[in-house]
Every structure is written in structure tokens, then in C-alpha cells.
């Protein structure tokens, strides 16, 4: 039954070309958005840039609630709304644009595996840091997450989300991990990505794929976000080819794109502060 619904959606998607007024929704950039959501949003933006599809970024305080899956970012194209990178990639493919068509079967399997690695380790580590590390939660997350709303709603929403994320962490076995162990995992993940990237410009051939967009989204956000301590970004900085990779993508796809102010800090040292 769900398969038929998907096929129907794909047909709908294929029917029209990409419109000019496509919009990508995320939370408020300067006051509200958190590390993990920012990373996901940047990954989608990078992917759409790589496909040469114009999209404008719209910031709304209730983006999370508008999204069909509860997660940001989501795109509003024509009369369809699609959220998260995976479904967006499929949606864009149905419209006839794809970055991974040139890959053979084994490479496609590898690409999917590496995307799962980023989701499994990097994204989960970001969520852990934001919601389960008490210092970060107190100083950054609680202040930012509900900031557009009045008291007491802001605290309630924040605690609710924290409870939800902590339940999930417990279910997958991350609740028992200490911060050092999580940072170790991040290091392992970055090492794997660095070894896979090697000296190539992108992960597969000379053309970027959705994996490049995803890795860029996460790594760039980690590098340019100021948290209570620098440990997370230090882990990424140990790998110079990953930094060069981020800079390359930023220069190629985001320079000159004036709407995207996340790239305004072009040099590595300038950090965008997430603290209020």
C-alpha cells in the first residue's frame, strides 16, 4: 500500500519541472537552529546547489512542526513537501536530476554505506552533544531551542525534545557513553571519511554526489560552530584533507550565493557564534 503511494508521488514529481520558487525551510538561523539541524539543512542546500537547482532558504520558528516527518529541513516545491536528505534525493531524481547516475552498483552500495556511517555516527554524536551533555544543554541548547516562544513554552518544548532524544539514545545504547567515548567515535568516523577521500577532490570520481553534500554539511557546521568547548571541531581539524574538501565545496558552490550567509565566514578561523 505504501509502495503504491510512493509510486504515485514519484509520478507527480516527474510531471513538472523544477520551479523557480522552490523554498527550503529551516529554523531561525541566528537564534534558534541547533548544530544537528543546521548540518542537515546545509547538506540539503549543498546537494541542491550541486544539482544546479535554485532554492531559497526560508527561516521559520515552527519549521520542525511544519515538516511532514518532524525533521528539518524540508523543501516546498510546486505543491509538494519533502523532508530530509534521503527522500529529497529521490524526489529530485524523479524530476530527472541525479548526481549518482554515473556510479556502478558497487559504488552505489559504498555510497549508501558511507551515508549511513555519517548518519549513524556523526549525526548521533551531534545529537548526543546537544541534548545529553549537561554543560552544552544548559548553556546553549535550552537557550536556543525555544527562543522564539515566550516563557514557559520555551522551556517546556526544550525539555520535551530533550526527553525524546534521551529516550532514543537509550534505545540505541548511546546513553551509557561518556563524552570522551562519543568524541572517540567522531574521530573514528572522520578517520574513515578521510581515508576514503584520500587525495581525491570528491568521494567518487571527480564529480560530487549526495555523499559529498552530506559530509560537507556536517563537517562544515562542526568546524564553524562555536560550542562550549572546541573538542568536537578539533577532532575534525586533525584531518587536513577533510578541511580542504570543505573549503573546496564552499568555494565552488557557495561563494557568490548571497542568500547563504552561512558561508560568509569563509576563512577557517572565523567562527560563527551560536551563543546568544
Amino acid at each position: 500500500m505504501a509502495l503504491a503511494a510512493e509510486a504515485f508521488m514519484t509520478q507527480l514529481a516527474a510531471a513538472e519541472p523544477w520551479p523557480e520558487n522552490a523554498a527550503l525551510y529551516q529554523q531561525l538561523k541566528d537564534e534558534q537552529i541547533l548544530l544537528s539541524d543546521n548540518a542537515s539543512s546545509l547538506a540539503v542546500q549543498a546537494f541542491l546547489q550541486m544539482c544546479n537547482l535554485p532554492v531559497r532558504v526560508v527561516c521559520r520558528a515552527n519549521a520542525e512542526y511544519m515538516s511532514p516527518s518532524g525533521k528539518v529541513p524540508f523543501i516546498h516545491v510546486g505543491n509538494q513537501v519533502v523532508s530530509e536528505l534521503g527522500p529529497i534525493v529521490q524526489f529530485v531524481k524523479a524530476k530527472g536530476h541525479s548526481l549518482s547516475d554515473g556510479l556502478d552498483e558497487v559504488q552505489k552500495a559504498e555510497m549508501k554505506a558511507y551515508m549511513e556511517l555519517v548518519n549513524n555516527m556523526l549525526l548521533t554524536a551531534e545529537l548526543y552533544l546537544q541534548w545529553c551533555d549537561d554543560v552544552t544543554v544548559e548553556e546553549i541548547t535550552h537557550l536556543r531551542y525555544g527562543s522564539p516562544y515566550p516563557w514557559p513554552l520555551n522551556r517546556i518544548l526544550s525539555y520535551q525534545k530533550q526527553w525524546e532524544i534521551r529516550r532514543k539514545m537509550k534505545a540505541i545504547g548511546w546513553a551509557g557513553k561518556s563524552l570522551e567515548q562519543v568524541l572517540e567515535d567522531v574521530d573514528q568516523c572522520c578517520q574513515a571519511l578521510s581515508q576514503r577521500l584520500g587525495t581525491q577532490p570528491y568521494f567518487f570520481n571527480k564529480q560530487p554526489t549526495e555523499l559529498d553534500a552530506l559530509v560537507f554539511g556536517h563537517l562544515f557546521t562542526i568546524l564553524t560552530t562555536q560550542l562550549t568547548s572546541d573538542e568536537l571541531s578539533e577532532k575534525v581539524k586533525n584531518y587536513s584533507n577533510l578541511i580542504a574538501f570543505c573549503r573546496r565545496i564552499e568555494q565552488q558552490y557557495f561563494e557568490g550565493h548571497d542568500k547563504d550567509s552561512s558561508s560568509s565566514a569563509t576563512s577557517r578561523s572565523a567562527k560563527r557564534s551560536l551563543l546568544r
Binding site: 505504501a2 559504498e110 554505506a113 549513524n120 574513515a192 576514503r196
Partner: protein
């Protein structure tokens, strides 16, 4: 050398040394890397399984999750990834993440959540190996934890009912199996001719799915349509997990053979002797059980 190491894990059945994916992964890795482990299958005695299974006990250290156990074995110089290149090591991590994200939910569902499978196969099997009264409680708890995990990780909107979540996780699992099959191709193991950590994980996840006889078997049917993955499991079972002399079930059956032989009612018949080798380290496929 290294201190003696003991692995406490769930036992075997249906031709497998263990029915539990994580226990099987650790046992497979130990065989691949030549680590001398004494395997203690949890059976119906008072030493009930507490907390996580499998558990490795070496002198005073107790280590519990498969990833940590494998790390410990590597530190003790039992390393099955010695010949892998850096990129292959990175690929290993990526594929393990793929298994955990895409295949594990469906595996948990097949074993613990699917009502027919759980009631007729999983619960009786586990309950028979846990001492009373824990046997009344622990399988139910494991089942609830599995369902919880599936719902929390995969059950958000736009999937609003358990049937939709089930459909999605089985679709993902079938796609994962297809990807693994494409990656394995025609080679014997995932990286060349020697098995490594990735082979241990893939074997640990696939073999229970392949061998355990369930009433509801949609994922098993799909797996059987991928002959290279089935061949992969069978090869590892026959090369690395031949029956060892210490297998108590086998000793009992040997004794029974002796008793039958001495009984006057049975005419002396040609005794089938089983040629057994002691605990399998790197063994050539030529040494098989001969009738």
C-alpha cells in the same frame, strides 16, 4: 601470552554455534583472528544472564558490547584486519553502519516482534535457556526492548502505524541485502581471501536469518534468492565452525552409540566414526567431517 578468555553468550541451534547475532559476530571474529576463547553458552543454571550478552571475561576485565570486545581482542594482538588497507578499514566501518541502520531493525522484528515467530520460536528457545523464574520475564523484556528500539529509531511521522513501520523496515532490509550481495559479488569474503571484521559482522547478522526456521519468513525468502550471501554463510560455517570435541551434545550422542553397540539386541553394525579435529583455528577446507 594472553590470559585465558571466556566468552559468555547465547548458545546455538539449527546448525549455528549461536542464535544471537551479536554473540555470533564475536565468535566468528575470534575464529577468524585465532583468538583462543572458551565459549560458555548460557544454559539453564543459576548463573543467569545479567545485563548485556555477549560478555568477555579475561582475568579481571569484563567487556560487554561486540565493538568493545573486538577492540579488546585487537589489542591482545588477535587482529583479523591486519592485511586490510586504510580504505578497506574505512569501508568496514561504513558497511557495519549500514547493517545496523538498515538490517538490524528488520532482524529484531523477525525475531522478537513478529507475533508468530516470537511465540513459536524465539520465546521458547530463550526461555528454555534461562532459569526459572527469570524465564517468565526476560524474553518479554527483550521483546519490548526490540519493539521500543524499532519504534524510536524508525517510527516517526509520516509512518503512523506499526504496519507502515514494518513495511518500511523490511523494504530497507531487502535493499540492504541487495547492496551486500552486490558488494560481495563472486569473491569468497568481502576483502580478498581472508575474512575480516566486516565478514564477522555480516555473518553474525545473516546467519541467524538464514538458518533459523521461522513460520513467517519473508526476509529469509529474500535472502535465499541471493545465492552468494547464502554461500558466504555456508562457507564460514563449514570452514570455521566445525563441531569441536568439547561439544556436549556430540559427546552424549557418542556415548549413546557405545551403549547401542554393547546392547545384545543390536547386531554389530558398521560404526560410523566421526573424524573430529580439536577446536578450529585457521583450517583448510579440506578437513571436513568424514562419515
Amino acid at each position: 601470552m594472553a590470559a585465558p578468555m571466556e566468552l559468555s553468550c547465547w548458545g546455538g541451534g539449527w546448525g549455528l554455534p549461536s542464535v544471537h547475532p551479536e554473540s555470533l559476530t564475536v565468535m566468528a571474529y575470534a575464529k577468524f583472528s585465532g583468538a583462543p576463547l572458551t565459549v560458555n553458552a548460557i544454559n539453564n543454571c543459576w548463573r543467569a544472564p545479567k545485563g548485556e550478552v555477549p560478555i568477555l571475561i579475561s582475568e579481571d576485565t569484563v567487556i560487554s558490547q561486540p565493538a568493545k570486545i573486538l577492540n579488546f581482542l585487537r589489542k591482545q594482538k588477535y587482529n583479523a584486519d591486519y592485511e586490510l588497507s586504510a580504505k578497506q578499514g574505512a569501508d568496514t566501518l561504513a558497511y557495519i553502519a549500514l547493517l545496523e541502520e538498515k538490517l538490524l531493525p528488520a532482524l529484531l522484528h523477525t525475531f522478537w516482534v513478529e507475533a508468530e515467530n516470537y511465540c513459536s520460536v524465539t520465546k521458547p528457545w530463550f526461555a528454555s535457556r534461562i532459569p526459572f523464574p527469570l524465564s517468565l520475564y526476560l524474553p518479554g523484556k527483550m521483546s519490548r526492548e526490540a519493539l521500543n528500539r524499532i519504534l524510536l529509531t524508525r517510527g516517526g511521522p509520516p509512518l503512523y502505524s506499526l504496519t507502515e513501520v514494518e513495511a518500511q523496515i523490511y523494504r530497507d532490509a531487502k535493499e540492504c541485502l541487495n547492496l551486500l550481495s552486490k558488494r560481495l559479488g563472486t569473491s569468497q569474503f568481502f576483502f580478498g581471501n581472508r575474512p575480516s571484521t566486516l565478514d564477522a559482522f555480516v555473518f553474525g547478522f545473516l546467519a541467524p536469518l538464514y538458518k533459523v526456521c521461522f513460520p513467517r519468513v519473508q526476509l529469509q525468502e529474500h535472502l535465499k534468492q541471493l545465492p552468494n550471501l547464502c554461500r558466504f554463510c555456508d562457507d564460514i560455517l563449514s570452514c570455521y565452525f566445525r563441531l569441536a570435541v568439547s561439544d556436549p551434545a556430540l559427546i552424549i550422542s557418542l556415548q549413546m552409540d557405545d551403549n547401542l553397540r554393547k546392547s545384545p539386541q543390536h547386531p554389530p553394525r558398521k560404526l560410523t566414526t566421526l573424524k573430529l579435529a580439536a577446536g578450529g583455528e585457521e583450517s583448510s577446507p579440506l578437513n571436513r567431517l568424514s562419515p
